[in-house]
Symmetry: C2
Subunit: 527 residues, 2 copies
């Protein structure tokens, strides 16, 4: 495809750009295949604004006399406005933005064209692999093995080529179990708790269906997890009723009779459309400029966003308690095992495992539990809170994770090696990025598209010294202890840094952050 | 009076003390005239708990078998529990606490008995005086004079002996004006804006009454403020309707016909019972331990506390705008002129005047605008949010001020020379204190009780080097600019540091504060 087909008018002069925190600016607007480029006449490079078209969530055009105004609502929640002289130019520009910002083909996306001098395509892609992760955890190797049964993605299309399973379960068994689990997502290990040898497993729902089908191999695999004795917990991220209803469409749950050593707990976490609509309502409430405190608090309540944060953190806390305090292994799943399952399992790891709380450790956790584990980023993040497009598979599960991590970091200001700007950067990158990291829906798709050969890796880039300095927490003091979040509703706060970042007062808070960082750097330099 | 009359049982052994953040502790409880003293047997001084009886807002006793449990709900919002063996002892202790914590006589209060080695009663009391303040402001002296008409408190019992008024208005006129204003609070200068010579005046309502009485002297005084020309603003902290109704009870407002050069603006700020009940509801909501986010947000909304914060900040912003942006002088009053009037005038000064944003400057502002200006602290702070006593004159106006200042400091993290711990300390001291600063209802009462000779001054103590270090803002960078608060409802936050300070997660936040402070001190030491 030629991008130029979509560009009727490439350049318009005397456009006025209005954006938060800046006075209006007059200059030349230029549409390229992937960017809106705005520069003011004297060519001063500090007055150049570059906007990734992919970042645009909704576009509104409004004629005013012979000229027109375009409002751009971005996925990073920023709202910009362009005043364009000439109605035809305005309509052309709007049409170009509309089609170029919603291209579906992965290989047309900007990460395949982004070629900065400082990076090379030969650089390592990704931080680790299942093989390396397994090799590093010697203490689990006598009971757990690395299986390559999924090497060609045929057993489970959304899993990576290698996964960790009980030693006593062979690949043939895994193939049978995969057929009994939604999307082939058979139970795999995602966390080994060194202190007591307990594990966190994750999977999708079993396909028991209306007639309560059983699968001997599935039962054996779970038996092997708890070593034939003891008790395990299954945390089902659906309500009991939802799990029952899933049987009507071929899904289901682990019945007490077939899995006698496993105790099932239900915690309903919202997903999909409900979550997306919650985000939309929240962003709408944040943009409300009525001056009533009551109205604001009632809209905030109505959006339910903080309730979702609450349930996610509370469920992760429950999971962590099962492992650390009660000394049981846990299997977590909902229906597909690609959304709330990953949310809960990764939050529980942050609570339990100090290694996931460093900058590199946290990015590694995201790589393992979200990218390799097959969270469908492309589907979930196609649109954000402003789009008028009909919702399909969008859901801000990953943004919800980042919000929960922010709550954890706020409650334990010393325990995390990374800081709020990292979470904000990730919340932006997941929707529109120069890097290939969040492209596609699974490892398989990324391999097919050549993402690892033809794009740059965000996580590697975030770990370069200059970036590392920017995203690390100056107050970090590692602790080996679990960090138990308070899930009292009073302890939860709106993540203003994300949801109100484009409002006026955010500027002063940012200034204080910079000030604090400079102070720490100065301090380190001096000591 | 002998305190011992109130003490039936002075000592009880084997009492268990339960309080936030500490494991239960067994030891000896001792009741003295002003304190509860709790020490554990081995006499280790680090295990001594001292509680000012004045800090106790409500006491609940519950028998359990042969022993009893006393719950102490403190004015600093902390809740403690004592398990006391022996029902009779329990009842005796409870009775002693009840009577000793609610003594009314000022001279019986602890500040008259507090004699630490580090302080001397010969130390200066207070930070400044009207005379000193006037002497420092040379630029206003050609148009404004210091009047001693109130030297014996006979003209206005709640004013200090000296006040600043227009040069052209003599003392005889002031006496007449005082008779026309509620409680004698004639208009006085409280702030001179150097940039344009405009001023903020404050007073109480005029006593126009049902038959629209006029006072020529009052009109002349206000004429003199705007120098006979131009336009002034009157910000009335009641709604138009409330101001109209006030005429029925002898109060009133400045009518357009009699005060043609003054434009009246009405902004309704709640006071008295409404404000007190708002605080009670808020504290109740904060203590709610249901796990529903919706319920919490709805209770928070219901308490209306953040609405009061909003109105106070918005009104102060309006006042500051009149002075700085529009270049007009402003008179502010409600009915009595001792509550919301002071709230608005002091917040406006913080917005406009960089000198009030240093540690000493802020304490100076409190001294001028609250202590000398006659806020009735003893009446307003007799009880806090837990008391079951029938409300009389209680109202947390000063706490509301501190909350608004906290919001300002949060929005402008670099602009204030003092930090949150100072505001928390003040919120505690105003209800129960070792110092005499917040005793009594006016300067006159404090003089009569000998407060300045027989007690120590809190503000002087807070400015000693060791305390100064603790209460200053490590990120402070003075700015000469006005700091305009955002009054978008979204920009306001619950002051968790105060209202949720005794909940678990507050501990970690405090740790981070300490860490940050150490870092800064280390940094300064090294550079």
């Amino acid at each position: 495809m030629e991008f130029s087909e979509h560009i009727k008018t490439a350049n318009v002069e005397d456009v006025v750009l209005r954006r938060p925190f800046h006075p209006p600016m007059k200059g030349t607007l230029c549409v390229t295949g992937h960017h809106l480029l705005f520069s003011n006449r004297d060519g001063d490079s500090s007055r150049l604004v570059l906007l990734l078209l992919r970042n645009i969530d909704a576009i509104e055009k409004r004629p005013s006399g012979s000229s027109g105004t375009i409002t751009l609502k971005c996925k990073d929640l920023c709202v910009l406005q362009l005043d364009i002289p000439g109605m035809e130019e305005c309509l052309n520009i709007a049409r170009s933005i509309e089609s170029l910002s919603s291209l579906d083909s992965v290989s047309d996306m900007y990460p395949f064209f982004y070629r900065p001098l400082k990076l090379s395509l030969q650089d390592q892609w990704g931080l680790s692999s299942p093989e390396q992760d397994y090799a590093q955890m010697e203490e689990l190797q006598d009971r757990w093995r690395l299986s390559h049964v999924n090497r060609d993605y045929s057993v489970c299309p959304s899993y990576p080529p290698a996964v960790i399973v009980p030693h006593s379960v062979d690949d043939k068994t895994l193939v049978k179990v995969a057929k009994f689990r939604h999307g082939g997502r058979f139970p795999v290990l995602c966390y080994y708790h060194r202190k007591n040898g307990m594990v966190i497993m994750r999977s999708s729902q079993p396909l028991t269906g209306a007639n309560r089908k059983r699968c001997r191999e599935d039962e054996l695999l779970l038996q092997a997890v708890i070593d034939g004795s003891g008790l395990g917990y299954i945390i089902d991220t659906r309500s009991n009723q939802q799990a029952q209803q899933a049987r009507m469409t071929g899904g289901g749950f682990e019945s007490k009779s077939s899995y006698s050593c496993w105790k099932r707990l239900h915690r309903q976490l919202e997903r999909g459309k409900v979550l997306q609509e919650s985000l939309i309502k929240l962003v709408e409430a944040c943009g409300d400029d009525s001056h009533s405190v009551d109205r604001w608090l009632s809209k905030l309540e109505n959006s339910k966003w903080l309730s979702h944060v609450h349930t996610a953190l509370a469920t992760a806390g429950l999971l962590a308690e099962c492992v650390e305090r009660d000394g049981h292994s846990v299997l977590v799943h909902g229906s597909e095992g690609t959304d709330t399952t990953l949310l809960v399992s990764s939050l529980a790891q942050l609570i339990l495992d100090p290694n996931t709380r460093t900058l590199a450790g946290f990015l590694g956790l995201l790589e393992r539990e979200w990218l390799q584990a097959g969270h469908p980023f492309q589907q979930r993040c196609a649109h954000s809170a402003y789009s008028h497009a009909r919702l399909r598979l969008e859901a801000p599960v990953f943004v919800l994770l980042l919000d929960c991590v922010w709550q954890l970091a706020r409650q334990f200001p010393l325990a995390m090696g990374f800081s709020e700007p990292l979470l904000l950067r990730l919340a932006m990158e997941v929707y529109a990025s120069d890097y290939g990291t969040f492209l596609c829906n699974s490892d398989q798709e990324r391999c097919a598209a050549g993402v690892k050969e033809r794009t740059h890796c965000l996580f590697q880039s975030l770990l370069r010294p200059s970036e590392r300095e920017r995203y690390s927490n100056p107050l970090y003091e590692p602790t080996e202890l679990a960090i138990w979040p308070s899930v009292q509703p009073q302890s939860l706060q709106l993540w203003r840094g994300l949801f109100l970042r484009w409002t006026q007062h955010a500027v002063h808070l940012e200034e204080a952050q910079v000030e604090l960082r400079n102070l720490v750097i100065e301090c380190r330099g001096a000591s």
